[in-house]
């Protein structure tokens, strides 16, 4: 699986995604700088990493979504390539119009960095096929604008088309206000586009991919994509480092 990690101006999580693809997943991976373009056929998976592109100025992801490289990302999306936006990467996808809705500031107006639980709502996606539906996993969030918002119509669509992929929950899988510290609508943690080849999620699976870091729940997301791309080949690589 050929992976690309986009480096937007000010991206901070680019190295983390690169590390997971290369050293944990063992796949070829390249950085693509935001001033460059790329050809859709060169990659299977394109990751928009977390961090604070352009210092989160204007709105998180807003300025990065106007970078030169975005045109290539859109082309790749249209060509059916898998696009994964994590944290700030999710915000960029929203600002670029590749996913619907927007992110507001967290409900308590503060940056929020902690491990949280999410429930897998839809495992029939390229990104989640190694999880069980209803499974509760632990992931790390770290963001100030993770309060997902969409208008009524969009929300209806997301629901009827089953595009809500992960939701915040408590350790037993129950939705509760206390387990949604960011305040996002319908407890949304991750959504996919209609075609299903683009996923945006607020938590950071790349930070939960190694035993030494105390959590391997996130690696299965990357393995899911690998399995989808390469068909049936799954390796348990979470123990490698």
């Amino acid at each position: 699986m050929n992976c690309a990690v986009i480096q937007f101006a000010g991206s901070g999580g680019d190295g983390d995604c690169y590390h997971v693809c290369k050293n944990i997943l063992g796949q070829p991976v390249e950085y693509i700088f935001h001033k460059e373009t790329f050809a859709a056929q060169d990659f299977d998976l394109i990751i928009l990493p977390g961090g604070a592109s352009h210092g989160d100025y204007l709105r998180p992801g807003a300025l990065a979504a106007r970078s030169k490289v975005i045109k290539s990302v859109i082309d790749a999306a249209n060509a059916g390539k898998y696009i994964l936006g994590i944290g700030n990467g999710f915000q960029i996808l929203l600002e670029a119009g590749l996913l619907p809705g927007t992110m507001l500031i967290n409900k308590d107006l503060k940056f929020y960095s902690e491990d949280i639980f999410v429930r897998v709502e839809n495992n029939a996606t390229p990104f989640t096929n190694l999880y069980k539906n209803g499974e509760v996993i632990r992931l790390t969030v770290a963001c100030k604008y993770g309060n997902y918002y969409a208008d009524k119509k969009t929300m209806e669509q997301l629901k009827t088309q089953n595009k809500i992929v992960l939701t915040y929950c408590d350790i037993n899988g129950n939705a509760a206000e206390a387990s949604n510290p960011l305040g996002s609508m319908e407890n949304i943690a991750a959504i996919a586009n209609q075609e299903g080849n683009i996923l945006g999620l607020m938590p950071h699976p790349e930070r939960c991919a190694e035993e030494i870091l105390g959590n391997t729940d996130g690696i299965r997301m990357f393995q899911s994509i690998l399995q989808y791309v390469e068909g049936g080949k799954i390796h348990d690589c979470s123990r490698r480092s």
């Binding site: 901070g12 940056f111 960095s113 950071h204």
Partner: protein, 737 residues
Amino acid sequence: MTAREEAKKLGLTDLEFDEILKILGREPNYLELSLYSVMWSEHCSYKNSKPVLKRFPTQGPQVLQGPGENAGIVDIGDNLAVAMKVESHNHPSAVDPYQGAATGAGGMIRDIFTMGARPIALLNSLRFGCLCDDRTQYLFEEAVAGIGDYGNAMGIPTVGGEVYFDDSYKENPLVNAMCVGIIKHDKIVRGKAAGVGNSVMVVGAATGRDGMHGASFASGELSDDNPDQGSPMQVGDPFKEKQLMEACLELLQNDWVVGVQDMGAAGVVSSTCETAARAGSGIELDVALVPQRDKDMKPHEIMISESQERMLVIVEKGHEDDVKKIFKKWDLDAVKFGTVTDDGMLRILENGKVVGEVPAASLAEGVPIVKRESKRPVYMDKLQIDFSKIPVTDDLNEVLFKLLDSPNIASKAIVYRQFDQTIGTNTVVAPGSDAAVIRIKGTKKGIAVSVDGNGYYCYLDPYEGGKQIVAEAARNLVVSGAKPLALTDGLNFGNPEKPEVYYQFEKCVDGISEVSKKLNIPVISGNVSFYNEGKFSAVYPTPIVGMVGVLDDVNKHCTMNFKKQGDLVVLLGENTDELGGSTYLQEVLNITAGPAPRLDIELEKKVQTCCLKAIELGLVNSAHDVVQGGLAVALAECCIAGNLGFSGEIETDLRPDTLLFGEGQSRIILSLPEENLSVLNKLAKEIGVKTSVLGFVKSGGLNIQVKQKEQVVGKIEVSTERIAEIWNNAIKRRIEK
């Protein structure tokens, strides 16, 4: 106005003005005077502290760079090294806590990547007044947000820190930031302007009138009529700094880079004269070539502006375009504005015309050292009382609740939750245990880092307090499984012109030096901040120590939380008859009294050796040191962190409150499987440390029975749920309106 009068207005003394006349052999012009005034301010020159700082041990086989550079560097093996430094931003944070704290973090980060190191962790040390005060709540929340937003946007995890609240900091909060970076031995860059004819460039942000005279501002007391507050506050631009960091780290891969220096306090002038002085060279520069943000800036304004996110870069002649190319990639300017010369002068031109000329070394190193008077404060003797007269509180549960509810002991999660702790995917132990542990990718190694201070102990007894903070920082690393290597200090004191304050300063430095020498943990960098005063008195003397240690196998790290029911809980070290300086006395009984707990360095060394060895041998499941709140609080913290309980009977000669809440030093609580006890005891015996079994880990609650001669003389019986609730919400409860 005569030059002498002007000098006085700029804060230079008569003696200093005479020295300038001697150096120049003529009267300085206004520009030249401005340069001396900022460079000879306490903040830049250390004129009050230099002789005392010489007492620090700064050498050791592990030290690759000691004090004197932008940051200190210590070897961690495998051709890798760690760069680190602490810096204060106290006065700006009192004026605008958000921007003050943010730019403090920003300046600190620049010091690290200036050395060629990639920043991998941030820490901070904060002091505020009592949380019952509205302004304090504002300062606290804004400073935390400022540090968070800056570090978070930079993509550097904040992995540790400390926060204390005490009235002494009400008007003058303390905001210290610490940054840790990683570097290969052969990539270390120094701040030197060597090689005649080489080019001097300014890179990064344009220069504006921000923070004019900020260095002098930091060198005087805060007052309502401070004229410097009229100049614009520095505003941090973490996005630009992130670009600057990436550009610099890319630049520093090239061997035609001669030197790099952060433009922090006193911007252009400090960076040029310091790099020239280190290399024994001179620099000729033209201020008109410096990119400017504001209109009609005067030469002295350009020279002393403190605009953030700028660096000085010295490269071999002919490589200017290579520099520009790298910086252009990151959307930053790089402009040549000067040349290295061999005449030792800092020559300043404006559009080709000389407007000022002074020996570079005289600015950087020529300040007349001030010898300060030192006098033992009388309060120290007044604060000794007879503890036997204080009745033992009956309800020990209630005391424990009160202690856990003290903002100084309670969980600081509400603070560190606002910091990205895990970006970089290296954080093995995040904030919440004794020290943070960070793995070093590509090796089996890890490092542990901690920052510690105790202004209250230092107030009661500056020397013992100084000793204690080094011991505590080291202990925090050791309980995490790391061997301490080196420290960086941040020395926050009041007005050094007051003999009592100077005494506190000297004695704290002596205490730090003593333990640092004996434990072989040299001082490799640091910062001094004086003039931290409120209207009526100075802040508590508040030195802080940031320390780094190494774990050869990061998998063997240890944390404080109890892990398994049935594990034995063992105390390393001994309970002592010390109640002075305890949080129990101060916050529960409202008695401010010493003496602060004594530190026996030999004992401390043994306790640490034993603990480290036990962790390395894999004998223990948890380790936690006993500090504020004493044994009972330490046990409670192990229970809360592990969501487990503890049950034990402790036989003692001490008063039950002294046993439970006294803050005697050199104690560590371990939990371990019963079958490992004999090996631990043998180890402890060899090293010469006492061990005692306190009880065992169970579910549900914390039960301690204190016995004297088989008689129960006091007990604690509380549920883990209840104490966790108190401890978790103490700060939140106070700031939520």
